[in-house]
Symmetry: C2
Subunit: 435 residues, 2 copies
């Protein structure tokens, strides 16, 4: 049974705080193991990758077979159905279209003092994309991680994916091909992250690593941060649905379960002002669970972490939504647009009854890599800017330096950084004076 909260209850505040701070994942303590793996890859390069792949993935590799060949990729693509390839291509085109609108503009201007200022955006030279193995190996995630990099202008996009027992998903390889990935290596885990960060004989290092992974991958990304850039550390996923009495209980139920079927640590929450809808949704979820292939996962998530919150008016859900800061926020209500406009913290908002969250996972065009575990309070979904960086530009003339330079001399002296002050004063033809 999911939690049932009522905003009119005396203990609501307390129950809501408990819901917010519920522990959904126990972090495995793998940091020590990961540290050793990284050091080993730095020391032994390809040889270490080959050893770990033998041990963890039961696959015998050589420096020559680390990289997946063009022929293998073509064979994988041929193994997919036409319908699947067409769906991936539709998704690709829509993701490209959306992300192209995120390309930032350079700027150069001269201000009142005559100082020329501005900035220039450039893409990172290379990026690495981690793709998990096994059941979490999703072609849609390949598109979502790779395409923003390519739209940003990243010249070398490298993918790594473990091949447990030698197996790789044909759809994942096809998606990589369709997204324009430049190199693919059959290696995973912390060792793959280390290879991307530090390089080996076969895998050249990259400037930024993105993509989800298990506890080992997450720990490795944290450790190599600084040597290269990383994206966010993905946590358990969540959906929050705001619905009024106009919403259909069966649609809400399947959307709650679409979140819950991901992972037992996923969280699905409904907030409604209609007690009858609340009951109907709970019943619809129970009924639907009976026939769901991933019932075991979805049922555990829903019964242990799911929640239905009753509020007096749906407007009252907005501040609660901001506290929850959900990765995905669906709004099915007559005033959906108005409610959407009022919410501040959410990864993505799905407005209206005909926008199930799964649309955003696959073909909406926006990115499905979104801030999880309440981090929408301070971070954004993956986007083109994650693969770019901004360089500031400054240019003073002798005249404009005369306007703003004296204040810099004052501040340099105040901070007791004499060379700072002098570097300006000398160009003004003066010393630091007696000050």
């Amino acid at each position: 049974m999911p939690f049932r909260l009522d905003a009119a209850a005396a203990d609501f505040r307390e129950s809501f705080e408990q819901l917010l701070h519920m522990k959904r994942e126990t972090a495995e303590d793998v940091d020590q193991i990961v540290r050793d793996i990284i050091a080993d890859v730095i020391a032994r390069g390809d040889e270490a990758l080959i050893d770990y792949s033998r041990r963890f993935d039961r696959i015998e590799l050589t420096p020559e077979t680390l990289r997946i060949t063009r022929e293998e990729i073509e064979a994988a693509t041929a193994a997919c159905s036409n319908e699947q390839i067409a769906a991936l291509e539709l998704a690709r085109d829509r993701i490209v279209f959306f992300h192209e609108k995120q390309r930032p503009s350079d700027l150069r201007f001269t201000d009142e003092a005559g100082v020329e200022l501005g900035w220039r955006w450039t893409a990172v030279e290379s990026a690495g994309l981690y793709v998990p193995g096994g059941t979490a190996s999703y072609p849609s995630s390949v598109l979502m991680n790779a395409i923003p990099a390519k739209v940003a202008g990243v010249e070398r996009l490298v993918m790594v994916a473990p091949a447990p027992d030698g197996k790789l998903s044909p759809l994942v390889l096809a998606a990589a091909h369709i997204a324009g990935v430049d190199e693919i290596y059959r290696v995973g885990g912390a060792q793959a992250v280390a290879a991307l960060a530090y390089g080996t004989e076969t895998i050249k290092p990259v400037a930024k690593i993105v993509g989800p992974g298990n506890a080992f991958v997450a720990a490795a990304k944290r450790r190599v941060f600084g040597q290269c850039g990383i994206d966010m550390i993905a946590g358990p996923s969540e959906v929050l649905i705001l619905a009024d009495k106009t919403a259909r209980a069966d649609w809400i139920a399947i959307d709650l379960l679409a979140q819950a079927e991901h992972d037992t640590a996923a969280q699905s929450i409904l907030i409604t002002d209609d007690p009858r809808l609340a009951d109907a949704v709970e019943a619809a979820v129970a009924a639907r669970l009976e026939t769901l292939p991933r019932r075991a996962i979805a049922e555990k998530s829903w019964s242990e972490l799911g929640a239905i919150i009753l509020v007096e008016k749906l407007e009252n859900a907005v501040p609660l939504a901001d506290r929850i800061a959900a990765e995905h926020l669906e709004i099915m209500a007559v005033n959906a647009e108005e409610l959407a406009a009022g919410v501040r913290n959410a990864g993505a908002v799905f407005i209206g009854a005909f926008t199930p969250e799964a649309i955003g996972d696959y073909v909406g065009g926006s990115n499905h890599v979104l801030p999880t575990a309440r981090s929408a309070r301070f971070s954004s979904g993956l986007n083109v800017l994650d693969f770019m960086k901004r360089t500031s530009l400054l240019k003073c003339s002798p005249e404009s330096l005369r306007v703003i330079g004296p204040a810099a001399v004052v501040l340099g002296k105040s901070e007791r950084l004499d060379a700072h002050a002098l570097s300006v004063a000398m160009r003004l033809g003066s010393g630091l004076g007696q000050g």
Copy 2:
């Protein structure tokens, strides 16, 4: 003596790689201590802050005296000279002007399929600014960290700064006031970071923490990341100067020393195509060091980490500059603009002889919090977007869902996420078929 490298030498490639990978900082292993401090602040709140302040800062606080009063801030401001206040205000106005141009735009559009898409930018609700104590307590850094937050629209901006022996820099308090900081607490170290992340009875938690600090502060920021957002972890600072024979050796020398005087781990590098300039700069640095107040620091940095690299043509410096990926890049050459346009990896570029780096530290208007330790390969200086986040918006109509929905059903089924596929199929009035 600084390193001298010659691009024409047989071993140049090797020497340059050594220069790039020179270890400039030995990270203190304080993670265990920091973990305990954070746990203690979570458990005991204000009481823990008061205990640590007694132990580390030799100051006796109460919950009532943690916060710095308006009267204290006014007294601090009054203790500064008019010249200093005017310089801070000039800097503030210029930083505001520059950063206002970084405010991003929201977007909403309808694509060919009839899907409404877009995004909305919002500021984080609250942010915390860490300001170090002692000699690294710079009023300019207060402006540079606080102003982007205020321009972004952060409603609650909290500053924390240790007060060793009860002392706080009046200029730092004045800068906080001038920048519009809302609350200031006299607490520092890992305990202050923990208070900002988790809150205490007196300090409410914030969504994002920025600002430089020592090894304890850096480790604490890494640890609380996820609970709240953090900015980059600041490493040792560097300047790279490209100069041809038209440049003045004494100006280059003072600019190299302005970097070196920050920290013994700072690094100053000159690349020139003029052997006589190289010699003249080395002599000018030696001469200037004689009279520099922070000689001990600057001399150690320059002699142990400084470098002069000779190239045949200054254009050849561009790929080296991209490898070095300097925080600060100064270009003093006839074709400075052209060279600047060619560089990809740099935190900020200072174009022409009249743009010493110190201008960017204080009054240029651009931010002086820039990517250090080669991280300009993948990150940008602090900016308004660091205090904002983007929420994606999606809205399908029954008609547009009919256009793109079937592909989502195909992909959902391919990923064996039946509830995903069903959530779309039900709205299309169909099941999952036999597929």
